[in-house]
């Protein structure tokens, strides 16, 4: 302790035995009885739990420092985190969850300097980077929406939404780890998977643009479908829930628009109402940044709702309304613990519903079958806005 640099630091571990012996007054076996190893780092189980859930945090007050937190909704414990750069939005998660794909933006001086856009490939067990795929520095910076990126149903190609402000998709081959090319989607935005190598984007005029890829990820064909919804009046949300060969989009005035894809195109399914006339008069409204979820096995739709004028359609929700998709019948209403900006449902038989409060940074966990509040997990991020369940059941036969 009397000089030199050695006093500065203590290397833990190797020399403690000698030190302890020198300490005297206690026997060596006693000492060894209680002693930890140094340097242990956790790894996660090979397969994710059905109730593990990623909370995605764009960190809007410090956008260069985006994060994602993995929680076990059963125990309420955090499993780990990933750091995801500037203006982070969400992951693209393959059904097998053998990897995590994340479209990210970095600056060489954090907020200035050279911009680098990449798809980071993370190991879901070690939560470490496994690979990095360079992208054109064009990815959209938006308030978080899950479909700022998407994986094709074959799990191979990732589409990243660009906005410069011209809109396009960057296509990445997750197998070869290569950027394949950029495909313009003029007038349209976002990317929704709709087949093995097919994606569609929603367009400002109420249509959709269907983009089909070749087996190598290059553009095979594009086609526009008009008049799928009313972009001016009863417009649909820019976030929806997948159910088989359809994406379900709730609309401003409480209708449900199924967009069904069959083969290479897309068509409007039968629109049905989420609210009664009385509820519509009472201004029951869709809500949040991620306002719907589907439990596929039971065919149930969960929609985040609150009461408010049309302009409040993104305000936090106070209830979740649950529907049987087949009949369009509302099954029940769930009162939420916190003002909720995002909901998600696990896909197992004993499913949980989760709700995210960005303001107070809480993740609330409910049973999906009866909406019973199980627990609330605090400190889940700075401005957490979206949730993603990594576990998916095996694909149904014939799909």
């Amino acid at each position: 302790m009397k000089g030199g640099a050695g006093f500065l630091a203590v290397m833990t571990g190797a020399c403690i035995f000698a030190a302890s012996v020198a300490g005297a007054g206690e026997s060596v076996p006693d000492l060894l009885h209680r002693q930890d190893s140094v340097g242990k780092v956790e790894q996660l189980a090979e397969s994710p739990g059905a109730h593990w859930v990623w909370v995605l945090d764009a960190n809007l007050s410090s956008m260069p420092d985006g994060r994602a937190w993995l929680f076990d909704a059963d125990s309420g414990r955090s499993m780990g985190s990933l750091n995801t750069g500037y203006s982070f939005v969400a992951f693209a998660l393959p059904r097998a969850y053998h990897e995590i794909y994340s479209a990210e933006t970095y600056y060489s001086r954090h907020t200035r300097g050279v911009r680098t856009d990449v798809v980071s490939v993370y190991d879901p067990n070690t939560l470490s980077p496994r690979a990095e795929i360079a992208l054109p520095p064009k990815r959209a910076s938006t308030i978080p929406r899950l479909n700022d990126s998407a994986l094709t149903d074959d799990g191979r190609f990732m589409a990243v939404f660009n906005l410069t402000p011209a809109t396009s998709l960057s296509i990445v081959d997750t197998r070869t780890r290569k950027f394949v090319g950029e495909i313009g989607i003029p007038g349209c935005s976002l990317a929704f998977p709709a087949g093995a190598r097919t994606l569609f984007s929603l367009c400002f005029n109420g249509g959709a643009l269907v983009t089909e890829l070749n087996p190598d990820g290059s553009l095979s064909s594009q086609s526009r479908v008009e008049k799928l919804f009313d972009a001016e009046g009863d417009f649909i949300a820019d976030n929806g829930a997948r159910f088989g060969n359809a994406w379900l989009f709730p609309s401003l005035y409480g209708n449900l628009y199924p967009l069904e894809f069959t083969g290479k195109t897309i068509k409007a399914g039968k629109v049905w109402s989420l609210v009664t006339k009385k509820e519509r008069r009472e201004n029951w409204r869709i809500s949040g940044y991620q306002g719907s979820a589907v439990h596929v096995a039971t065919g149930r739709l969960f929609v985040l709702m609150h009461q408010g004028a049309p302009d409040t359609y993104k305000d936090p929700g106070t209830e979740v309304w649950v529907y049987d998709i087949g009949s369009g019948k509302r099954l029940w209403r769930i009162a939420l613990e916190h003002a909720t900006v995002a909901i998600g449902v696990s896909q197992d038989a004993d499913a949980v519903l989760v709700g995210l409060d960005m303001l107070s940074s809480h993740l609330d966990v409910y049973t999906a079958v009866d909406g019973r509040h199980l627990r609330s997990i605090g400190e889940v991020g700075v401005t957490p806005a979206l949730v993603q369940f990594p576990w998916q059941p095996p694909a149904a036969p014939g799909k």
Partner: protein
């Protein structure tokens, strides 16, 4: 911090109170397809010196969210970040593409076109968050969507704060 956090409840870029005046937007959109560079008009510059607080009508105080030009604001007021309601803070860059709203000035009862030009190149200002979520549309309708960081049109997409540039008078509602 509490107020700051609560403000994020409405953090959702670029709202506009009145978006029924589509025809002019259409015209502008059509006229400006393919435009590039930074067009600067040789007209009178706005005064960068603004009162820290207004004892006046809040709709006439550029430092307040209630300021009439902020009808389409969703972001941090540049007047609280080293800039003003019409200029960017030192060391930032004004984005040249933007979402446009139409706001009525109670002082003369007229409607004006306001461009919400973002200032870009420094991390979020985090001061004087001002969000008005009226008239917003989803991301797939960018010209009307408040969910987009318009620094996309600058040389950096690092969002700092938002100005309210008065472009001119709006035409009457059809």
């Amino acid at each position: 911090m509490k107020n700051f956090d609560q403000s994020f409840a409405h953090f959702s870029r670029f709202v506009a109170r009145r978006t029924s005046r589509r025809s002019l937007l259409t015209l502008l959109g059509a006229a400006l397809v393919g435009a590039a560079g930074v067009p600067l008009l040789p007209v009178a510059r706005a005064d960068a010196k603004e009162p820290a607080t207004g004892a006046v009508d809040p709709t006439q105080d550029p430092m307040r969210c209630e300021y009439w030009r902020n009808c389409g604001m969703d972001g941090f007021l540049c007047g609280c970040c080293g800039g003003s309601s019409t200029s960017c803070p030192p060391g930032t860059e004004m984005a040249t593409t933007t979402w446009i709203g139409t706001c009525r000035d109670p002082a003369d009862g007229r409607d004006y076109i306001i461009a919400y030009n973002d200032c870009c190149g420094k991390s979020t200002c985090n001061r004087c968050m001002c969000g008005r979520n009226e008239g917003d549309r989803p991301i797939y309708y960018p010209a009307k969507s408040n969910n987009i960081n318009w620094c996309a049109g600058a040389s950096t997409n690092v969002y700092h704060c938002t100005t309210t540039i008065l472009l001119g008078m709006s035409e009457p509602v059809p």
